[in-house]
């Protein structure tokens, strides 16, 4: 981080300070050195918090931490921000039960929480739903279910995060969704024609009974910038790849990366367009009445929440 070696021939210089560049920010046409990249990431993080009023002074913020680069970075940035705003930070790690993958991530989450002096709550699918994700997917396959692993994992994880955030009395639940995640989610909801979930992708959700408001302070930071930031800062990160990572999510991710390669700024433009249509989405789903699941009591748009529906299908 503190190198002062000047660029040699064939090495790009920072567009702002002339030091050796580490990154080409193609959507603005700038090269950035280590210091300028870190400053830029931190600035965007703080700007999102300010612009969308994601956090109020004195709040208790629960950060969802998997141990991957995004959530570890999010935890470090929120902790630093919180110290200035008299906020309290806790972390929640969900152990989905993915053999050979999740164990290492949980350990990394614990190490980061310990080093930052943040209280960490580890909750698991097995303790909460009676089954690990591995077992759920085995049962789903035996029953011939066609839903992908990310659907089961995503629905159950979101439900457990919300439940745990309530239990630990958090005012906000911060997730580490980056620009790439957000744009993928926009595209996926288009493909599925799911206007309700499309609407719910904003930087913060309006307070709703039964939900701890979810905030996404990193949704305007590209994944690659977060990866470089985490590497430059020397954060302890688990870089393992989820063994279930396949299907339409990966196809959409690949499509967006190719688009960005050939047409830089495409990801930001998709996000900007989404923001333009979001007020209309709000009108479209405005009349929506939130109910409470008759099985588990968690908030749900239908009589039975998606999590209980999935679990019931497996038992039936």
């Amino acid at each position: 981080m503190s190198s002062i070696r000047l660029p040699a021939e064939g090495e790009k210089r920072c567009s702002f300070c002339g030091r050796m560049a580490v990154y080409h920010r193609r959507y603005t046409g700038d090269f950035l050195c280590d210091r300028c990249l870190c400053k830029s990431v931190e600035k965007r993080f703080l700007r999102a918090i300010r612009e969308y009023r994601l956090v109020e002074p004195g709040e208790r913020i629960a950060v969802a931490v998997s141990g991957g680069k995004d959530s570890v970075t999010c935890l470090h940035l929120i902790k630093r921000f919180a110290e200035r705003k008299r906020c309290e930070v806790v972390a929640i790690t969900v152990d989905e039960g993915i053999s050979g993958y999740r164990e290492a991530g949980v350990e990394v989450a614990k190490e980061n929480a310990r080093s930052l002096d943040v209280e960490l709550f580890v909750v698991s699918f097995r303790d909460s739903f009676g089954l690990t994700l591995d077992e759920i997917l085995r049962q789903a396959s035996e029953k011939g279910k066609s839903l992908g692993p990310c659907t089961y994992c995503g629905v159950l994880r979101r439900s457990l995060l919300n439940r745990t955030a309530k239990e630990v009395e958090a005012d906000k639940l911060a997730t580490a969704h980056n620009l790439d995640d957000e744009v993928q989610a926009i595209m996926l909801n288009y493909i599925r024609s799911d206007i309700y979930r499309l609407y719910r992708l904003g930087p913060i959700l309006k307070p709703m009974k039964g939900f701890v408001p979810r905030i996404k302070p990193m949704r305007e930071i590209p994944e690659k910038e977060i990866a470089i930031y985490a590497l430059l800062k020397g954060f302890k990160v688990y870089w393992g790849k989820c063994p279930y990572r396949k299907g339409i999510h990966v196809e959409v991710e690949d499509f967006l990366n190719r688009l960005e390669e050939n047409h830089p700024n495409s990801k930001f433009m998709i996000l900007r367009m989404y923001e333009k249509i979001r007020p209309y989405l709000e009108q479209a789903v405005g009349e929506f009445e939130m109910k409470f699941c008759k099985i588990c009591g968690e908030p749900s748009p239908s009589e039975v929440c998606k999590k209980c529906e999935l679990l019931r299908e497996l038992q039936g």
Binding site: V22, D34, S66, L231, L232, W239, K241, C242, E261
Partner: protein, 66 residues
């Protein structure tokens, strides 16, 4: 000229053209720059940088989630 490349747990020597950039190397592997961070001789560098004889290139994938 020759450079050493580490990618997906493998280490190999790669013959590349004089003045080739990291981007040229990534194209040969079919890797999109959005999906990796590249280290040359232990430093993170932009993909437009040129490579030199004997450089040690590490291609670090960034996707981790589910």
């Amino acid at each position: 000229m020759k450079v050493t490349v580490r990618w997906q747990g493998r280490k190999e020597d790669k013959e590349i053209e004089e003045g080739a950039t990291i981007l040229d190397l990534l194209k040969r592997y079919g890797i999109l720059r959005e999906t990796v961070v590249v280290f040359v001789n232990g430093r993170i560098v932009p993909e437009e940088n040129s490579l030199e004889e004997g450089d040690e290139v590490v291609i670090h994938p960034i996707a981790s989630g589910g």
